[in-house]
Amino acid sequence: MSEAAYNATELMIINAARLLQDGDQVFVGVGIPNLACNLARRTHAPHLQMIYEAGVIGAQPERLPLSIGDPTLVSGALAVCSMFEIFSFYLQRGNIDVGFLGGAQIDQFGNINATVIGDYFHPKVRLPGSGGSMEIAAWANRCYIITPHQKRRFPARVDFHTSIGFLEGGDARAKTGVRGAGPQAVVTNLCILKPNEQGELILAALHPGCTFEEVQANTGWQLKQAPHVEVTPAPTQEELRILREELDPQRIYI
């Protein structure tokens, strides 16, 4: 391990980057998704375009952006538009390939809670709320969720549907008429979960050295496994070098 040692955050960023395709129009947030996009752009997806909910299209940040509206996103971007336009012309119209999502809770069917723990009107813990995620989850062609793998984050059912995955499974999502295909992968520090035909998240791949038992112990439902559970290739020296030396040299996120 010593020559390619990496931490959990680097592992998640690198695996998320590998899910992105050249030419993808990606609705991206700061932090891990931003790093994953920039890594993909510097490796296999040079034509990937980053679009920010603040209304920035084709950002090429000169420094690591620290907020969703960082001024470095604007300088040198292809276009800037209002928030109404980014959500209507770009997202609602169907011009976004990929959305990134996160949240306090992700359930068995990829539904996300970023709103409240406990009762909405008498919250145990009040969380920030939807922001753009309610629409991103519905209207981006495909979505990816990146999150540390902890049992409290993976309950069988979320307390509140801030944004939907496959609802209760089956054709429930399709029946709502939303245009996007929903969450296509959940990347954690242990594994990659993917939806099966019923929209239930199952174990698709383990990261090197991780076991099903470990994943199950950190998941709040009886986790099914794909017929052939793969092992993700370990982060390469080059991926780690780009991340550490070019993208986040001050190690703000990694």
């Binding site: 603040a54 209507s88 519905a138």
Partner: protein, 303 residues
């Protein structure tokens, strides 16, 4: 006719107890100086509307100005949570009304367009509809799926910070545009704050950049550095250190009071506040130059 007044007078004239206030700006151009002035003037029972309440509303809630918040993301961007909003909601001491970003700005778009509501496609996430009856469903009169509608938001006053404006209120904005324009057109009154007051000829030199016209503006205030600790594109950078420090400043009543005493009640206006921040902060927030290429609008005189 010039509408130039100082910020103190503008807040006295256009922000009253019980009003609905929209201090615009998505991360960019947040008019913190106006928030501080509202606190200094002791306004109460305000309904504070913003997509992202940000530190400006967390501070105003902590200072006791607010009865209610309307929002779509109540976090400290890139840092964590907004303690006073979060606890106000958890403890039931603060009323709230919640949307997604698109729902929130669609409300402004309706208000700015003179419409009663704005339609949006369904998202399948019905829990917010369930807890916020302002979200409604209507039948598509043209035979498609049901659509979601949200009602117009017409704030009593919008406060909008811009890079430059003339004395009547024609304003140039560049960088992240957020909901500046929608908030201004939706509101009953508009207070404009500007980094620079320029001659009308500067505005006329680049009319495509004029996002807010004088006809909807009530007061124009010259307030350099109004947006700190947020930023103004091309003028000064976002003070990320302050956003991180907010966790500590906002942690309890005593530390908020100390902050208010020193930085809000302890200064007369934004100029004094900016001087008090000191040379080191000024240097840290300095931004370099990256100019756009000029465009030719064409000249149509006979010569």
């Amino acid at each position: 006719m010039s509408k130039l007044v100082n910020l103190t007078e503008a807040i006295q004239s256009y922000v009253h107890d019980g009003d609905t206030v929209y201090a615009a700006g998505f991360t960019h151009l947040i008019p913190f100086a106006a928030g501080h002035e509202i606190i200094r003037q002791g306004r109460k029972d305000l309904t504070l509307a913003r997509a992202t309440p940000d530190l400006i509303y967390d501070l105003m809630v902590a200072a006791g100005c607010a009865r209610k918040v309307i929002f779509s993301y109540s976090g400290n961007p890139g840092v964590g949570s907004l303690k006073w909003l979060r606890e106000g909601i958890q403890n039931g001491t603060l009323e709230w009304e919640e949307y997604s970003h698109f729902g929130m700005i669609s409300r402004l778009q309706a208000g700015a367009s003179g419409l009663p509501f704005m339609p949006m496609r369904q998202t399948g996430a019905v829990d917010l509809e369930r807890v916020n009856p302002q979200y409604r469903r209507v039948k598509d009169p043209y035979g498609g799926d049901d659509i979601i509608v949200v009602p117009a938001l017409n704030p009593d006053v919008a406060i909008v910070h811009v890079q430059r404006a003339d004395s009547e209120g024609n304003a140039h904005i560049w960088g992240i545009l957020g909901e500046q324009r929608e908030a201004a057109f939706a509101a009953k009154h508009v207070i404009l704050t500007a980094e620079e007051i320029v001659d009308e000829s500067v505005i006329r030199s680049d009319p495509n950049r004029t996002l807010i016209p004088a006809m909807i503006v009530d007061a124009v205030c010259h307030v350099p550095f109004c947006a700190h600790p947020s930023y103004t594109q091309g003028y000064y950078d976002r003070d990320n250190e302050f956003y991180l420090a907010w966790e500590e400043i906002s942690k309890d009543e005593a530390s908020v009071k100390a902050y208010l005493d020193e930085w809000v009640f302890g200064v007369r206006d934004r100029a004094e506040y900016w001087q008090k921040l000191g040379a080191e902060t000024h240097r840290r927030l300095h931004v370099g130059e990256r100019l756009s290429t000029p465009v030719n609008y064409g000249s149509f005189t006979d010569e």
